[in-house]
Symmetry: C2
């Protein structure tokens, strides 16, 4: 254990966090420093709760040196879940497992500063948590509470045949960024001297890879879009496991099929570069890479007028439609053939 | 990864959990199976939120073979926090990090069954969570929501000079049980053949150690007592880090001192046996061992009539009083001398 961290101790660290956080949410009766936080629910609203855990060497590598980005992402992936319900986030709770060896107080402060960056950007208050030592790696588990006007949460279960299937942003960027990080590229640092560079990979392609790294390290939850989509989305989910897996959830919960056209799926430009670099298929990164944290939703009406006002500049495209049939998605490939849209990230199968 | 677990996959496991849990809480608009749970807050009440994480080889050892107890404890330690606010628990969220190697589906099912045991005992509904692979041991992080009538949460900050300091149950049992487990004793199994047994350690002493093991493995949160104590407690905390540390929190948050008499501290009988067995001091186990999950509270009135009705049979004793002075507790030892009541479990210092 870093001597500075051991000297501070568990309660010194909690005090340090408590001193640095800012109150941003109405309804905080009691925050950090008691057995539980005390919150006042917003009248006329329901409470949303989500939890997402990031584990070292599964979701991130400390060797990447991106601690501040990690703190930011830890909260952002939870905000994305609240956005996918059409809600507003309010209060976050952080359970922090601190490795007994190898982590410094400075590294931990950077993680906490990143979390506070995202809290500021999304108007969230850190209202409690748990701090303990870890005999393994760094553990970051955030639970996030939010709110939504009563009865207006957008579920996964509301898709009906005839609705369009829509997606925000470009897909596959996060998976492409992961490839770049794994190969040694780092944000803000030049191309590594020991990393072979293909002749076709010019400055434009490198910029696309760097944008993909940013998408992986600091995803932007589509909060304004998610809230606006309460007006027209019939079902919604955030893209955390890949389009294939996440659309399957909408189909399963709604009891409908979905037909998606491969050619209509918007790819992050970095996905094409990473695909060429690794010999993989860019579309596969988009369908099964995961962690894009864009919104996938179904809507009977055209959502573009709604989104143009709430999230100007955010791309949104129709990639297919909801159909009657078995509750699973189908992919229409370029030559007009269709196939089951299978796969996507599965933690337990991936780990086998 | 256990082939049965890999075959089930992440979403199969979530489906299995979803199929087995029971709805016990009013206000569950939407539970497991969406991006976030949707809950309705109880009118006239405030929302309580707490989170507690248990990590392998820090809080428990899988080699102990007590998976069902572990699941139970994972929820119980959170219920204890809600109890210490005077509240009722409602909805739990489980973030589960599953080791890539060495854990079986059966073991995991036992953990989940234990969690459901405790949920049934405390009228809690598992309403969501997160499941992922772990490269580093089993991770169990529960966030628990509860409620308390508006304005009636019992904080750590309300102690005033002249209040009595009270504690439920017997202390040091959990630390004693940990000693017994570390030395090889297991619940429901005979004394191990390869474990030397002191001549003085008869069947009565062994029974005390086994009761201490139960206190460590399956602590009983003092839920009815905590709720009843809203009527008279001025400050309250659950004993998770040991009396020394937890009373220090009450003093710090309330801005008062506290004088505690060593002779008045109720010891779990197992603490005396474990102390003799290890050459440690039984009082030290009670003051600094932690994880007893009894309630420590201050009260101007005698709380015994209130507790006799709400939690019949639960011992409660006055161990000292709140005093003016520096915001830290003092221990009066047998010979009338006083000393600072220091120490208690600190995760970061313990890990050094």
């Amino acid at each position: 254990m870093d001597p500075a961290l051991a000297a501070l101790g568990e309660f010194g660290l909690i005090g340090l966090i408590r001193d640095r956080i800012r109150q941003r949410s109405p309804g905080t009766r009691l925050g950090i420093g008691d057995d539980a936080a005390v919150l006042e629910a917003a009248p006329g609203h329901e409470v949303l709760v989500t939890t997402d855990m990031l584990l070292e060497d599964v979701h991130f590598k400390r060797a990447w040196g991106c601690s501040r980005e990690l703190g930011r992402k830890t909260l952002a992936v939870n905000v994305s879940d609240i956005a996918a319900m059409g809600g507003r986030p309010h209060h976050a709770f952080l359970a922090l497992g601190i490795p007994c060896q190898g982590i410094t107080l400075a590294e931990l402060e950077a993680v906490l500063a990143g979390l506070e960056d995202e809290a500021a950007a999304t108007e969230v208050t850190l209202a409690g948590g748990d701090t303990c030592a870890s005999r393994s790696g760094l553990v970051l588990c955030v639970t996030l509470l939010g709110s939504v006007p009563a009865g207006q949460a957008v579920r996964r279960s509301g898709a009906r045949a005839g609705d369009g299937v829509w997606v925000t942003g470009g897909l596959g960027g996060s998976a492409a960024g992961f490839v770049a990080l794994e190969r040694g590229l780092r944000p803000g640092m030049a191309w590594p001297a020991d990393l072979p560079r293909p002749s076709w990979l010019g400055s434009a392609e490198e910029a696309d890879l760097r944008s993909a790294m940013a998408a992986h390290l600091t995803p932007t939850p589509r909060l304004a879009a998610g809230q606006a989509l309460r007006r027209c989305a019939t079902a919604m989910i955030d893209l955390s496991d890949g389009l294939a897996s996440d659309l399957r959830h909408i189909c399963a919960e709604s009891g409908v099929g979905a037909l998606v056209r491969a050619g209509g799926i918007p790819l992050h430009p970095g996905a094409l570069v990473a695909a060429r670099w690794t010999g993989r298929d860019g579309l596969d990164l988009a369908l099964r890479g995961g962690e894009d944290y864009e919104l996938l939703f179904t809507s009977r009406a055209d959502p573009r007028p709604v989104l143009a006002g709430a999230a100007p500049g955010l791309p949104v495209v129709r990639i297919g439609e909801v159909v009657d049939g078995p509750p699973a998605p189908t992919l229409e490939t370029g030559d007009g053939r269709t196939e089951a849209l299978a796969g996507g990230f599965d933690h337990l199968r991936h780990a086998t």
